[in-house]
Subunit: 327 residues, 2 copies
């Protein structure tokens, strides 16, 4: 018996989910659901593609639907909608709106006997786990999150909106000097801009003034103004050749003190170095789909976050096996 | 309302638990229980000391009893015994005997309506969590655990048993070269001895032959023979001055591949750098005491490991607060 998975949306994340399912013998892809014309989807190997309008016909054929849409417009609609029909997993990552989104999905999931894991991934997700656990263990301490090296979609979009820019990409680079100060237990006060460098690779339209574009990028409020920003001009070919991967990663570091006189210092660090952000995120979604499947069988209905799910549920191994071999 | 804690056993770990309780305003120490004569216990500040024989009088006064004894002889007896009377947390770390210990404590805890978190700490504990979760996310991968730099009690004891040795301490040092190969995604095959160096500081009795002792250490089977071992001779004063701390730490690193052709590589790393092994372990026990308290109120009885406990239970914050501020 395998866990039957549906994928809603087949962008980079959906593709990553499909390839992750293939790495997990206890799982099986039933179908990919899409709002696009079915024949517009290029899909690896032999997978079934179904129009989203026919999703309700799959209610009894799918154990968990993994929602692979974006947080801006897709998930706020799809999350509650699909929680009516299926157990779900999503990667909703608009931090400020999580409480509201949780309540909406929770209500629908509970009243339909479904289980929905929301905001799954690495941030929110694994990074949140590490922030929360290390704070609970070392209450007298300081927490630092560094992102990168990796592509920031929002900042890349901001560059591409500038007139005269044909294409571009922005990497967020964590600064070694800042990381080392944190690791040494220095407890520095650091703002995001003191922890990260922004490096841009920009392709210009013909005849556009480099200096003007560079100035416009570096002075863009919120995005670049407060940061050390490096702007490089390259050709479209170079962009395709060297910047089409989607690497990412980051660090969560907590330093804390213990002892009657707070005389002892401890550093807890969690870090990720990812060749492909969407594939790694997808692999997390798939592990949480397993947890959702188990929790639903156990009668735990409603919306769940990484804080509500006991970790053994992520593994295909039994509790006995986990105790014997992984504890 | 605070969570009322008892401490069973007042060695280094018990002391660490007391100081950790003081860092958590939602907790309160009721009493320290001991098998030793009560007046032999030196205790920081004003804590109540009670003979272990009177523990049952505290059944209604204590929410969670933290067992701070050793795994060799104390916990196998105390674990089941105290699970009859109290919710408990312990740091049972004899890996091979965990399944059996779990069953024993589970039976007693369940039939008495108690909750018992067993094998809590950093290894087993936080390291187990990271091994298990990263394996579930990246099934196609390889996992490495490095220990240290830190004091190995077992190896220090082995040195001290050698005739002519007055005192001694052994540090396990993870080898940077091996760590860097793993971090680079090389996936090397490494045995424990290829990952660690053993460094000994030895104080000799007067007139003892250095070379003879050094040879005896380096050729000791199981402990040192297969390792690169460094032996340093120092004075008792130097030992006291430079080697009375209890630092420890280590790394859990998983490298794994994703993608239809396994073309993308990911490195997940968790590391600890601890000034005081017992104080950090104690801080974990205290956070899990909070989880045990909450789970017992929710009606989750029996033995639990780090795999069975949802992480939000470790925090003094409410689920709403966690979603809002830590996700």
């Amino acid at each position: 018996m395998t866990i039957k998975i549906g994928i809603m949306g087949y962008g980079n994340l959906g593709k990553g989910v499909y390839s992750a399912i293939k790495q997990n013998p206890d799982m099986e892809l039933v179908a990919v659901f899409t709002r696009r014309p079915k024949n517009s989807i290029k899909i690896q190997e032999d997978a079934k593609i179904v129009s989203v309008d026919d999703a309700k016909e799959y209610v009894d054929k799918i154990d968990v639907m993994i929602l692979c849409g974006g947080s801006a417009t897709d998930l706020p609609v799809q999350g509650p909608e699909f929680a009516k029909l299926f157990n779900t997993v999503d990667s909703f990552d608009t931090h400020a709106k999580i409480p509201e989104y949780f309540e909406e999905v929770d209500l629908v999931a509970k009243s339909n006997g479904h289980t929905s894991a929301i905001s799954i991934g690495w941030d929110p997700g694994l990074f949140s786990i590490n922030r929360m656990v290390s704070e609970a263990i070392l209450p007298d301490g300081k927490e630092y999150t560094f992102w990168g090296s990796g592509v920031s979609q929002g900042h890349s979009d901001a560059i591409r909106r500038i007139s005269g820019v044909k294409n571009g990409i922005q990497y967020t680079i964590p600064l070694d000097g800042a990381i080392n100060r944190v690791r040494s237990g220095d407890d520095p006060n650091l703002e995001t801009k003191e922890k990260h460098l922004r490096v841009c690779y920009v392709v210009l339209e013909e005849g556009v003034d480099k200096n003007k574009v560079e100035k416009e990028i570096k002075e863009m409020p919120n995005y670049f103004l407060d940061y050390t920003t490096e702007v490089n001009f390259i050709t479209e070919d170079e962009l395709k050749l060297n910047h089409s991967g989607m690497p990412h990663g980051g660090f969560v570091i907590r330093s804390g003190k213990t002892g009657f006189n707070k005389e002892n210092k401890h550093i807890v660090e969690f870090s990720l170095k990812l060749d492909s952000n969407p594939e790694f995120t997808a692999s997390i979604l798939v592990a949480y789909a397993r947890a959702v499947f188990k929790m639903n069988k156990e009668g735990h209905f409603g919306a769940k976050t990484v804080f509500d799910i006991s970790l053994g549920h992520l593994s295909p191994k039994s509790s006995e096996e986990l105790r014997k071999n992984l504890l």
